[in-house]
């Protein structure tokens, strides 16, 4: 049976892992390759690397990092952050990334989704959507969730699918950092609306939250950062718990 995926997210700044809460109080958390290898060994199903390096110049270190990760890690991984062209994507995929994720650049120029799907195949194009509930509507935000757009989240999710996205990574900015649970209602609406997998992100605080995102939230995968980094929940414990709740989960034999 196809399993639900547990995806730790690593925030990368200038080639190093950083930890913080809502990007505040960032501190160095070591070598991303070592951390990635640890997560893979613990049974993570995929990894996401989110580059939060501010300048384009310093982002070039990302390709080197991707090459090192790909040489050592035997599970799939996605790279996101500041990707806005076919050239960016080509460099990352050739270095060994399995998928890339785009966010603000897709909002700015939606044709980018079509172009990437055409050039590299939908399977490697993840569209990340940051959503916030404003005036009784779910609205797409950009620039790390700070800037509202004109786009409604549900309509945008359908549009990115039609344009060729292979997967949607939906972060609820209302839930993010709260540890009060994933945005199950919104996730369920979108997961049922589209025929591509939905990765739920934002709000993980307990193991029960993962159970509800896979049941009530109908998500195909769940992403979290801080609870794994700060070892509040370990991947093996989480997976064992989900198994006891009859969620299809991979445990490597």
């Amino acid at each position: 049976m196809l399993t639900k995926r547990i995806i730790p997210c690593l925030d990368i700044k200038e080639g190093r892992t950083v930890k913080g809460v809502n990007f505040v109080g960032l501190r160095d958390a070591g070598d991303p390759v070592e951390l990635a290898a640890r997560y893979a060994a613990e049974g993570a199903d995929e990894l996401v690397f989110l580059d939060i390096t501010a300048t384009v110049e310093k982002r070039k270190t990302l390709v080197d990092l991707v090459r090192k990760v790909a040489a050592q890690i035997n599970i799939p991984f996605t790279v996101g952050g500041g990707i806005s062209s076919i050239q960016d994507v080509s460099a990352l995929l050739n270095a060994g990334a399995d998928k890339i994720s785009i966010n603000s650049s897709a909002v700015k120029r939606p044709d980018l989704i079509n172009e990437l799907a055409q050039e590299f195949g939908s399977q490697c194009v993840v569209v990340a959507i940051d959503s916030r509930f404003v005036n009784n509507e779910h609205i797409v935000h950009v620039n790390g969730g700070r800037t509202p757009t004109e786009l409604r989240t549900i309509a945008w999710a359908k549009e990115v699918e039609q344009r060729g996205a292979g997967e949607i990574l939906l972060t609820s900015m209302d839930s993010d950092g709260t540890k009060a649970g994933f945005a199950d209602e919104l996730n369920a609406v979108i997961s049922e609306l589209v025929a591509i997998p939905l990765i739920a992100s934002g709000g993980a605080g307990t193991m029960e939250h993962f159970f509800t995102t896979f049941t009530k939230g109908k998500s195909d995968a769940a992403l979290a950062a801080s609870i794994f980094h700060f070892k509040e929940i370990s991947v093996p414990d989480l997976k064992a718990y989900l198994r006891t709740k009859n969620i299809p989960i991979r445990i490597e034999k």
Partner: protein, 194 residues
């Protein structure tokens, strides 16, 4: 041991290269028929679309090269599909090593199948040391139907050929290079085939 990965512009083969290097093998990426024919082992990878891949192979005469190979050959992902007779993906005639059709999943669940699923009913040396129901990583919208060549099955929407074998040809729908320890063992088993 000399191992050639057939280079035919079918997606990113860097991950396959890295996975083999982790097993201590330095693969050669080549589209040269002579280099391919002389290799001890051949891996036929692929990510992408069937008709484009077949056109590319035919333009370089690699279709007849692949069919003529006598050493162990391992078709992976799209490589497995192209070793079949025909694919529903753009109604493409394929290499025909396996007299099997490649079908599109009925969209009863999300398509593509993306993620980890079980290997069941495993037979033969490719799966030596791998426990029943072990997980491998899939990304695909098309599948090879069950046949007498099937040496492992997976169930997603329908039961399909997770792996196939005929003579010196082996094939796997999943991505062994991304399937953790299980995938590494499958690759090692392919290297160990006599």
């Amino acid at each position: 041991m000399s191992l050639v990965i057939i280079d035919y512009n079918a997606g990113n083969v860097q991950s396959v290269t890295y996975a083999l290097q982790r097993l201590g093998v330095e693969p050669v990426l080549s589209a040269d028929p002579e280099v391919i024919q002389k290799a001890d082992r051949v891996i036929f990878p692929g990510v992408g679309e069937a008709s484009t891949a077949m056109r590319f192979l035919k333009e370089r005469n690699l279709d007849s090269v692949i069919k003529s190979l006598k050493q162990p050959v391992f078709g992976v992902c799209l490589g497995q599909q192209l070793l079949c007779a025909h694919s529903e993906e753009n109604n493409t005639d394929c290499l025909g090593i396996f007299d099997v059709r490649v079908m599109k999943f009925e969209p009863l669940l999300k398509v593509p199948q993306m993620g980890w699923n079980n290997l069941d009913n495993m037979i033969g040396p490719l799966f030596k040391g791998i426990e029943e129901e072990s997980y491998v990583y899939y990304v695909h919208s098309y599948y090879a139907e069950l046949s007498p060549y099937t040496i492992a099955t997976t169930n997603y929407i329908t039961e399909f050929s997770a792996a196939m074998h005929k003579d010196n040809f082996y094939a796997l729908q999943a991505h062994p290079e991304k399937s953790g320890k299980v995938g590494e063992r499958i690759l090692q088993n392919f290297l160990d085939i006599k």
